[in-house]
Amino acid sequence: MSVVCLRTEGLRKHYGGLRAVDGVDLEVLEGERRAIIGPNGAGKTTLFHLLSGEVPASGGRIVLFGRDVTRLPPYRRTGLGIGRTYQVTNLFPRLSVLENALLATFGLRPQKYDPFRPALRHREVLDEARALLEAFGLWDKRDWPIGSLSYGEQRQLEIVLALAGQPRLLLLDEPTAGLSPAETHAVTRIVRGLDPKITVLLIEHDMDVAFQVAQRITVLHFGRVLAEGTVDEVRGNPDVQAIYLGVGEL
């Protein structure tokens, strides 16, 4: 029997009169690849902020592997296995590539509180950072400041940071935004190659990527779930076609 990784019940977020997320019920199974699509302003990124805990919910529940995490702050949720990337690259600007990766690999370890031993002497943490950076071809550039990386490399480093905590649920917010076709292909390959036990929630505007990566799609519109199902089911849904008419290709 499949384990439910994530379940939300009536999840809501209001900003005054604006209902960014207006009662979202979601159920994602462990290991599932789920794409969240929808027009701009549908509430996709807000949904991610609610799931990660960076924005407090106005109502509803978030249940992660059977545990209610609605009231937990972000750092606790990361400890329970949530990792995320950001639509707008959110790295540590004045630190080097290696320092960025180290911050991520130290993140869930008690050694992060060590006030005396140099960070680089923590061999196992350094090795883990090295492994991640090498997997993404960034090890050679480990001394470089973030600003010297290409935009595509920065987006890849974003994913490195999210993976360092060994997440069970990975939230990818438009990982291919602004990337060239070659870079998009590389990222798609990475996402498809992730450990099958990791549950992936993917916000995407690029439909090709969404349909390649995901098994199921959830369509958001005005903060609510408009449609949900397999790729073909969603493609064939007349409501979904209507909202996308003229906005993009299905």
């Binding site: 750092y75 990361t78 959110n90 004045r94 320092e99 130290f106 006030p115 960070a119």
Partner: protein, 331 residues
Amino acid sequence: MAGRALLWGVGVVAALALPQVVPLYFTHLVLLTMVYGLSAMSLDLLAGYTGLTSFGHAAYFGAAAYTVGILTTHHHVAPAAAFGAGVLVATLLAAAYGLLATRAVGVYFLIITLALGMGTWGLAYRWSSVTGGDNGLPGIPPLDLGLPWSLADPRNYYYFVLLAFGLAAFLLYRLVQSPFGLALRGIRESEGRMRMLGYNTWLHRYVAFVVAGAFAGFAGTLYAFHNRFVSPPDLHIAASAEAVLMVILGGAGTLFGPLVGAGIVVFLRNLVSAYTQRWMLILGVVFVLTVLYAPQGVAGGARAVWQRTRRRARAAEGAPAEAGKQPVVQR
């Protein structure tokens, strides 16, 4: 690397030889540089490394100094015990103030630390029965640790301060190189991201605040036993601002830059005061000029130049950095 070791070696030898070769007054200035430098370095931990600029740092320096003064002059406590008490009080004060200050977001932190700093000054100024009020506390005895060399002799005290400074600076250095120090810089760059990586950022900020206060208190006790006199100006916003200036002038986020900044301020103040009363005016002008033209400070600017030459050299060679040999974490 060899060049740096040589520089350090020369520095240590010079520091050890100093009292034997220069006039006593010069030794006194170097001692003050170390004391204020330590305070500035502890502020750098907060401001440069964590991104929390405190305008009330003199409160901890002063609280420690006053504790020493009150205990030794009013209650005739042994100097050694007063020393420990001074550091303890400063730490406790930072622990209390830190609870408030770390609740503040953004620019409020600045204002709150300023307000708390001046509030502490107000305590020193008005609570005359305990603090001596405007007159301060004169007659602090010299430090006595039962050593064969009397610390009443300024030259001996210089060596004591040199040792104490060296120890404290070493601890701060290890702290900024450690995972904890790295986390502080992460918080400075992007606190939200840090939370999402699993860090309880409030705890880091709070601990940094208390540690900074503790080291400032340590500096304050060293000061009290040297100056033998403590008064309200030691806690005034002007003193806190001087600390901030030392950090900026020396280079925020470089740890030893603020030591250089302290040296500049101490020697400049000494020079200026010999000719004119207008030190505060000069201080203000130096402040403005530094912000306008040298915001990275001496060490910050030097480091930028060094990094650029290193990168150009590496690019010219075409070779990537060697694995694990080049320390990446900031000095």
